[in-house]
């Protein structure tokens, strides 16, 4: 007996299958509760921090109104996935960005919503620190708001300092002296590293630009009135190279360590310092806590300036991320409402208490009371207060990820070629100037807030 398949019975289901496969899903529309869905993608934060965001943003926002239903997806590859989705005219309602420099190309191509009307409705311009608000504008219109300020400085382990008779350094000479003595004592001078994330390099590029060249020189270079080959900037690059080669940045293990491991080494007493961004407070909570009994050991201080005539402290101003509204969103009003929910002192306080380091919402005129916070959050709040005051006074450095156009930022990320003597500093900066000139001519440079 033979079994023959009729062509018709094969073709029809296959055709139906093919149509189903290529037709995709239907539009989500409102959910069963009648609320319009709102979607946000976020980076793959640690589980405890995801829980904090779920509770304090998703659940709190959904409970605060009955028109929208917010959901957050945590994605370790959020940057690349957001880019792909936006390019395809898809993606979440609320667009998580890796910083304002990311925003300009999408804004110019109409992929993001012009938020000027929302800014007026919610009074964002008056509520947000002026340089931070400005950093999210493109051609004068608002397209992004930063979720948090980020700066660079020195985490220190007070127990290690006490053990060796050192005090918290306030000048560059004191800092270098302690780092040299730490090396002699068999410790790391300081710990940090770029394992798994090459852009960590730009933290130190930004740090030395602020501390050695000074904000005025960088502002001039960024606005095209100065040059990247300025001797002061050359000095900054050479100083960073010298520090790297002397082992002041993670010793021999810079390429093998990440921030989490660095914080662990700091807690273990393997180093007196961890030079890095304030967002690293979020990694400190795992190693400096009440359970370990060492919460009070961790401190944070500003990085002393090196360049002649520069005031100290001088904070490098940056952001951890930014939020925009997808032009393809069916609920831009709801997305704006979510962003406004995050731009509040209540949200800042709640999140900072549970997730220090990542939610220093740049609110103008806000001074949180450190005594109302526990553990590391208190240290973080104290740092925020100092920084906000400094920024309000118009004194701040420029973080590459926040204020530099994409190719120039990438050039600074490649500074490890100078550190490893693969490229000489002069050629490095000449290439920088060439790339920057092209980006300036193409209008790719984000707005540069002026010094006070």
């Amino acid at each position: 007996m033979t079994f023959r398949i009729s062509a018709r019975w094969v073709a029809l289901p296959l055709a139906a299958l093919a149509v189903t496969a290529v037709s995709g899903c239907s539009s989500p529309g409102d959910d069963a509760s009648g609320r319009a869905p709102l979607e946000m993608w976020f980076w793959g934060a640690p589980a405890a921090h995801q829980e904090a965001l779920q509770q304090n943003l998703v659940e709190a926002f959904n409970a605060s109104q009955d028109e929208y239903e917010l959901s957050v997806t945590f994605d370790p590859d959020v940057d690349a996935n957001i880019q792909t989705a936006l390019a395809a005219g898809e993606g979440p309602d609320i667009v998580y960005g890796s910083g304002p420099a990311f925003v300009a190309p999408y804004a110019q191509e109409g992929k993001l919503v012009d938020m000027d009307e929302y800014a007026e409705e919610y009074g964002w311009k008056d509520r947000i620190l002026a340089p931070m608000y400005e950093s999210g504008t493109v051609d004068g219109s608002l397209y992004a708001l930063p979720n948090s300020v980020n700066t660079l400085g020195i985490f220190y382990n007070q127990a290690v300092l006490d053990e060796h008779g050192w005090t918290v350094p306030t000048t560059i000479d004191e800092l270098v002296e302690i780092m040299d003595e730490a090396q002699e004592a068999g410790l790391y001078s300081s710990v940090t590293g770029n394992s798994g994330w090459q852009p960590v390099n730009e933290n130190y590029a930004s740090l030395f630009m602020t501390a050695v060249a000074g904000p005025d020189k960088i502002e001039a270079a960024l606005t095209g009135t100065g040059s990247w080959t300025d001797p002061a900037i050359l000095d900054a690059v050479e100083t960073s190279r010298d520090w790297y080669q002397k082992g002041y940045l993670g010793g021999d293990d810079y390429t093998s360590l990440n921030f989490t491991q660095s914080m662990q080494l700091l807690a273990d007493g393997q180093s007196p310092f961890f030079i890095g961004p304030t967002l690293a407070f979020q990694f400190a909570t795992d190693y400096f806590n009440d359970e370990a009994g060492n919460t009070d050991d961790l401190g944070f201080t500003s990085f002393p300036t090196i360049g002649e005539g520069l005031a100290s402290p001088l904070y490098t101003l940056g952001t951890t991320a930014s939020f925009s509204i997808n032009a393809a969103s069916e609920s831009p009003d709801g997305a704006a409402e979510v962003i406004d929910f995050m731009m509040s002192q209540d949200f800042m306080e709640t999140m900072t208490a549970e997730w220090p380091g990542y939610w220093g919402v740049p609110l103008s005129g806000v001074q949180l009371d450190p005594t109302e916070f526990d553990g590391l959050s208190a240290d973080y709040v104290a740092t925020l207060n100092e920084m906000f005051a400094s920024v309000d006074a118009g004194s701040f450095g420029y973080f590459t990820a926040t204020f530099f156009p994409p190719q120039t930022q990438q050039d600074w990320i490649n500074i490890d070629s100078v550190w490893n003597d693969v490229e000489d500093p002069e050629a490095f900066l000449q290439q920088m100037q060439s790339d920057f000139d092209e980006e300036l001519a193409a209008g790719a440079v984000p707005p540069i807030p002026a010094q006070g």
Binding site: V10, A15, P105, D253, S256, N420, V422
Partner: protein, 304 residues
């Protein structure tokens, strides 16, 4: 009457044949549609993009001719990355091939236990790249808590190979080869087992040694498999990305920069998809050359 019956019979046969042909096309359609949608369309789009200044977002990219190619060819980093891909290819055409072939030959004589060995050797290949990379980063190469850290504690002057500009590329390649060689073992073993047993027995009775047995009996039978794997290795070597990105992201100081990471930076860091596509075309070119060589040799016959 006979003529009518014959005509009717031919008509029925024709309808049946047409029906069968339709069924064949219908069965083929999903694969063709998929290939068209996820291979041909992106390939053509990439080729077109390589001649534009597309930033990954714009709906109206400008045609820039061969400018992207001129710029990448003038960039020292492109040649460095290409050199790394060539080194990578040479490494993969030797180390895992020799290891895989040697192990496969040894397993030929292990009739009862070779299945277990194959599963063990294949394990790294079936694990996700990110898992393998994390294992090596944290358990092997970690200078604090890994094997490298342990050896340092024992007083050995050793550092993570990924931290040294001279060894980083080999450090990454070692992880990828570790994950890949077991796959070659299984493929070669499967091919070796197709060799007629009587030929092996005859050669053995003639008193050949192990090398002669491999060279004159086994190798001629597996030549097509060896050639195919050669081509696949060349193609994969010029597309190598996952382990490089997971372990070093092209660093330190571009010492592990490959064409793929070079293209990735253009696409996802500096919004230059046109240049990224141009690099992609160059990457594909090497695979294409290898494929042509394979096709040419196949047509001539592997025994020739």
């Amino acid at each position: 009457m006979t003529t009518i019956t014959a005509r009717a019979s031919r008509g029925a046969l024709g309808r049946r044949l047409r029906g069968e042909r339709l069924a064949h096309y219908a069965l083929l359609a999903p694969a063709l549609l998929l290939s068209f949608a996820i291979v041909l369309v992106p390939a053509v789009a990439t080729a077109i993009t390589a001649f534009t200044d597309w930033n990954g977002i714009s709906s109206s990219p400008a045609f820039v001719g061969i400018e992207n190619f001129q710029e990448i060819l003038a960039d020292g980093l492109f040649w460095k990355a290409l050199q790394h891909n060539v080194i990578w290819t040479v490494l993969f055409l030797t180390v895992p091939v020799v290891l895989g072939m040697g192990t496969a030959v040894l397993l030929l004589t292990r009739r009862r236990s070779r299945s277990v060995y194959q599963v063990i050797f294949l394990l790294p290949y079936v694990l996700a790249a990110v898992t393998n990379a994390l294992v090596w980063l944290n358990i092997i190469y970690n200078p604090i808590a890994g094997v490298v850290g342990y050896l340092k504690d024992q007083g050995l002057a050793i550092e993570s190979p990924l931290a040294n500009l001279d060894t980083a590329l080999y450090g990454v390649a070692a992880v990828d080869m570790w994950h890949y060689w077991g796959f070659l073992t299984v493929v070669y073993l499967a091919a070796l087992r197709q060799t007629p047993a009587e030929q092996v027995e005859a050669a053995t009775l003639d008193g050949v040694n192990a090398w002669q047995l491999f060279r004159y009996v086994y190798l001629p039978h597996i030549r097509s498999t060896v050639a195919l794997m050669f081509v696949m290795i060349v193609i994969f070597s010029f597309l190598a990305f996952d382990y490089v990105y997971l372990l070093t992201q092209g660093g330190p100081a571009h010492s592990t920069e490959m064409l793929s990471t070079y293209a990735y930076t253009f696409a996802f860091a500096t919004f230059q998809f046109g240049k990224a596509a141009a690099v992609g075309l160059v990457m594909g070119l090497f695979g294409l050359i290898a494929s042509f060589v394979y096709t040419f040799v196949s047509r001539k016959g592997f025994d020739a």
